[in-house]
């Protein structure tokens, strides 16, 4: 008697649960493109990108907010988007930006220089916002003025030929996004939630929860009306949170994702085996695309015995970059030849350095390294080198947030150990790594990517190691620059050349030569050792959409959480 009741109840429940809950979907799957989101949207109701949190990369700055320019990683050129072009004065202290005519916000208001001036002034005056792009504007811009409806002029605090690229060109990740004055005026920029948000982009905000955001196409988009570009093909764009590598792999293999975040090569091959429509940047090894933040080993030049440049060079000789590529990355990246990220746009500078003989080999020369060590008076006693009773040892700090990092350091530790240096890895938690270890020089050697910056010109990276950023150990290195505290006559010579490069216009023909000249000092002293390129293996699914960016279709790079994703979405075509 009781049994029947329980049986009935259980089967009713089971029926409920099992009858899949796919409900009213007014847009078909083949008209929707779904991107992977690797973090939680903590506050789905807040669209103020000038405050911390996931406020942009869940689709806002990929579909709704457009940048002024987009840097093309292949050609190194700035593609105009909301702006048409810019001019600067001779010493790069004034920049005049010309906006495109006919741009509209999705509520019909015109987008013009008023919005640009207004948003820039927020960055210059509001003390409570905290975003990287806003603080860069604050540091660089003295004032901004409207020349006419389509023209704005920026006056800078100091010469900066890279001003437009750095702030408005989606150089890395995002850009300084212009907000609508007619909505933001009178609001406190630190607490305004900007909900419902509007933008100039072809998509408008539809709905969001902590694990997804949905954007629907606005067929009234200014771009189609003015003939700038056709309406993008997808009617709906969704950013969906995945639960880690396994979840992500299953989702894309079962066609519930069209583009996924980084996976390891083994996972990618397994996904491809299940779903042959999944592709990557390259069609074969290394599969992955290079990320701007090339990996390196930072050395604290103030700590003995590593304050001796020859010992640092010795370590550079002992490190076998191709073994790192094979073991830590399983072949999905390339060894670094210089400190720069190896994009097409950086080729002139990389080539200049390599031709001058300062390029790094992919394999090791352990004998040469050991010769350098012995030349400094160390002798091998058993497993390790010793001198005056002291063993040659080093602690290498590494960020434990990803196995990519820890595995790289594990390989390096092995290589050093075998060559006679008692190396040890010291994993630290992410927060401690960025908060304590790196900026204060609290390390002997550390894994890092602190040359990150240059993607189309050399100063952004090179300028991070000048003597003006040298502080004592225990004080914070400004802007995470020169945490290795490289100083001395070679460093000063290097800094002088780099300061020269800083003020030259982009595209100046003398720059590659200067780069090679400055690099000789870096090569001689090695305050850091470039290791490998950072790689992102991003699976893209061609079941519903084609037109993804690949090495063969290099209209720009594939990092779809960046502001330039507008280009990707416009390039997508339905698969049938």
């Amino acid at each position: 008697m009781n049994y029947r009741k329980t049986l009935l109840a259980t089967s009713a429940l089971a029926l409920t649960i099992f009858s899949g809950a796919v409900l009213a979907q007014d847009v078909a799957r083949e008209n929707t493109v779904i991107f992977d989101l690797d973090r939680t949207i903590q506050d789905p109701e807040n669209f103020n990108w000038m405050t911390p949190g996931t406020k942009r990369m869940h689709g806002a700055h990929q579909t709704m907010w457009e940048p002024l320019f987009i840097l093309n990683y292949n050609t190194g050129e700035l593609d105009p988007w909301l702006a048409m072009g810019f001019e600067s004065n001779a010493d790069s202290t004034e920049f005049t930006v010309t906006l495109r005519d006919g741009v509209e916000w999705s509520d019909g208001e015109a987008f013009n220089a008023d919005d640009v001036v207004f948003t820039t002034n927020i960055a210059l005056t509001n003390e409570d916002i905290s975003s990287r792009e806003a603080s860069t504007i604050k540091a660089q811009v003295a004032s901004v003025e409207k020349v006419d409806d389509l023209t704005a002029r920026f006056t800078l605090n100091a010469p900066n030929p890279r001003f437009i690229v750095e702030n408005f060109g989606v150089r890395i990740f995002g850009s300084f996004l212009i907000m609508p004055e007619h909505i933001w005026a009178g609001q406190d920029a630190a607490t305004f939630t900007f909900n419902p948000p509007i933008g100039t982009g072809p998509y408008t905000f539809s709905s969001a929860a902590s694990n997804r955001a949905i954007w629907d196409r606005n067929d009234d988009w200014w771009g189609a009306k003015t003939g700038f570009m056709d309406l993008p093909a997808p009617e709906r764009v969704i950013f969906l949170e995945s639960g880690g590598e396994e979840s992500r792999a299953q989702l894309i293999a079962s066609n519930q994702l069209d583009a996924a975040q980084n996976v390891t090569i083994g996972t990618f091959e397994a996904v491809q085996a299940q779903n042959p429509n999944v592709i990557a940047w390259h069609t074969d090894y290394p599969y992955a695309a290079s990320d701007p933040c090339a990996r390196q080993l930072e050395i604290n030049t103030t700590v003995a015995p590593w304050d001796n440049a020859n010992l640092r060079k010795a370590v550079a000789n002992i490190i076998d970059r191709s073994q790192i590529v094979n073991v830590a990355y399983e072949g999905t990246t390339e060894a670094s030849r210089t400190m720069f990220a190896q994009f097409g746009s950086m080729a002139p500078f990389i080539d200049a350095v390599v031709e001058a003989g300062h390029g790094l080999p992919a394999s090791a020369d352990v004998a040469a390294g050991q010769a350098l060590i012995e030349g400094e008076g160390w002798a091998r006693d058993g497993d390790y080198y010793t001198k005056d009773g002291e063993t040659l040892s080093v602690d290498i700090h590494v960020n434990s947030a990803s196995t990519e990092y820890t595995r790289t350091i594990d390989v390096i530790v092995e290589q050093l150990q075998r060559a006679g240096i008692d190396a040890k890895a010291v994993p630290v938690e992410n927060g401690v790594f960025w908060g304590e270890v790196l900026p204060f020089g609290a390390y002997e050697m550390s894994y890092s990517w602190l040359s990150c910056g240059s993607v189309n010109e050399p100063w952004a990276s090179m300028g991070r190691y000048t003597v003006k950023d040298v502080v004592a150990v225990g004080e914070r290195s400004p802007g995470f620059n020169n945490t290795s505290r490289w100083d001395g006559p070679a460093a000063e010579a290097y800094s002088a050349i780099v300061d020269d490069i800083a003020n030259r216009q982009l595209g100046d023909a003398e720059i590659p030569g200067l780069v090679a000249e400055a690099y000789q000092h870096l090569d001689a002293e090695m305050p850091f050792i470039p290791l490998v390129q950072a790689a992102k293996l991003l699976p893209m699914n061609t079941t519903y959409w084609t037109g993804w960016p690949t090495a063969d279709n290099y209209y720009n790079h594939p990092f779809f959480w960046w502001n330039h994703t507008h280009q990707i979405i416009h390039n997508l075509e339905p698969a049938n």
Binding site: L13, L23, T40, G53, K138, S247, L251, V432, G435
Partner: protein, 336 residues
């Protein structure tokens, strides 16, 4: 059934308040023992993505002001305690300026709804199976199968979650792979929504049930063994009552009492313990909120979530202690 003696009630209330106060203070202190400055973490996050950060000193000062950590410790502590009483935990620093209570309210329904449900299911199944292990009228198969199934306790819940995901969500596609409810469903009191929640919550709940029912079963088994030899059971058997009736009304009902106390205690542990299951299913409950907050050094959220957990656990223990004698008349309210 008598009334609760005043002395006992006061004693228990004092314990409750003290427990909450002390625990809340400890969780306030502990993150601050870490040598890292949350403002530095936030700055580091900015740098990690993209290279140099201009104006670091200014940004740090701003962040510190926003986070309220530039105040002296006592001031911060006082603000925290007075705020906690009215459930105002300040503003999150990782998702500034969203109030912490908003974040908690977003996550709480998922935790309470799903996890309490799975705890209830585990409680019933585990205790029933534990009882069946001991009852001499259980089929031999059942008696052997249960200890074998208890081996599942050794599997970390994330593994059971991943396996279930792999088999039932990826291969068979009976259940969804991520999320707490469907993509196109809005939270509301509609049948569609409830169905979506059940559909999405089934695998996460099951993965927890599989690995935790063993503990309840084992505990229940021990208690049942104690009860089996009691006189009243023998009397019931002698009276000729039906065996199943004896099992439910006499044996289980008496043996289960300590388990109820244990249930109250487990609630708090459950929330923090489900972090990984929440992560792999992108099920954004309190466990995940706490974990992310700890990694981001988001003090206000850490304090808020921990406080809620402490409150729920302490209240459950209090209620159980108070109501226990009404459930089991053999126990009397004894002050201390």
């Amino acid at each position: 059934m008598g009334r609760i003696p005043k002395a006992y009630l006061i004693n228990r209330l004092v314990t409750l308040v003290l427990t909450i106060l002390i625990a809340a203070t400890i969780i306030w202190i502990i993150p601050r023992l870490s040598p890292v400055d949350p403002a530095e973490i936030a700055l580091g996050r900015m740098a990690a993505g993209a290279g140099a950060v201009a104006n670091s000193e200014e940004i740090l000062a701003q962040l510190r002001a926003n986070m309220g950590i530039d105040q002296p410790f006592l001031v911060q502590y006082f603000k925290y305690i007075t705020g906690a009483l009215v459930f105002d935990f300040g503003l999150s620093t990782a998702a500034f300026p969203t109030p912490v209570s908003t974040l908690i309210m977003n996550a709480l329904p998922w935790t309470l709804g799903l996890m309490i449900l799975s705890l209830l299911i585990t409680f019933f199944i585990g205790n029933l199976l534990g009882a069946l292990m001991v009852w001499d009228r259980s089929p031999k198969l059942v008696r052997v199968a249960i200890p074998v199934a208890m081996v599942f306790t050794s599997i970390p819940p994330i593994l059971s979650g991943l396996l279930l995901m792999w088999i039932f969500a990826a291969k068979l596609q009976w259940f969804p792979l991520t999320g707490a409810y469907g993509l196109f469903v809005e939270p509301s009191w509609t049948w569609a929504f409830v169905q979506s929640v059940l559909h999405h919550g089934f695998l996460p709940a099951l993965s927890i049930v599989i690995v935790t029912f063993g503990f309840w079963a084992l505990g229940m088994r021990g208690l049942m063994i104690g009860v089996q030899g009691e006189d009243y059971v023998k009397l019931a058997e002698a009276k000729g009552l039906k065996p199943r009736y004896i099992l439910y009304r006499y044996m289980i009902r008496n043996a289960i009492l300590p388990q109820i106390t244990a249930f109250a205690l487990k609630i708090g542990l459950l929330i923090a313990g489900q972090v990984l299951v929440e992560r792999i299913f992108a099920y954004n409950g309190m466990g995940k909120l706490l974990y992310d907050a700890i990694l981001n050094q988001d003090f206000p959220v850490i304090q808020g979530v921990s406080y809620v957990i402490i409150l729920i656990t302490a209240l459950s223990v209090f209620l159980v202690d108070l109501l226990y004698p009404f459930i089991d008349p053999r126990i009397r309210h004894e002050a201390g």
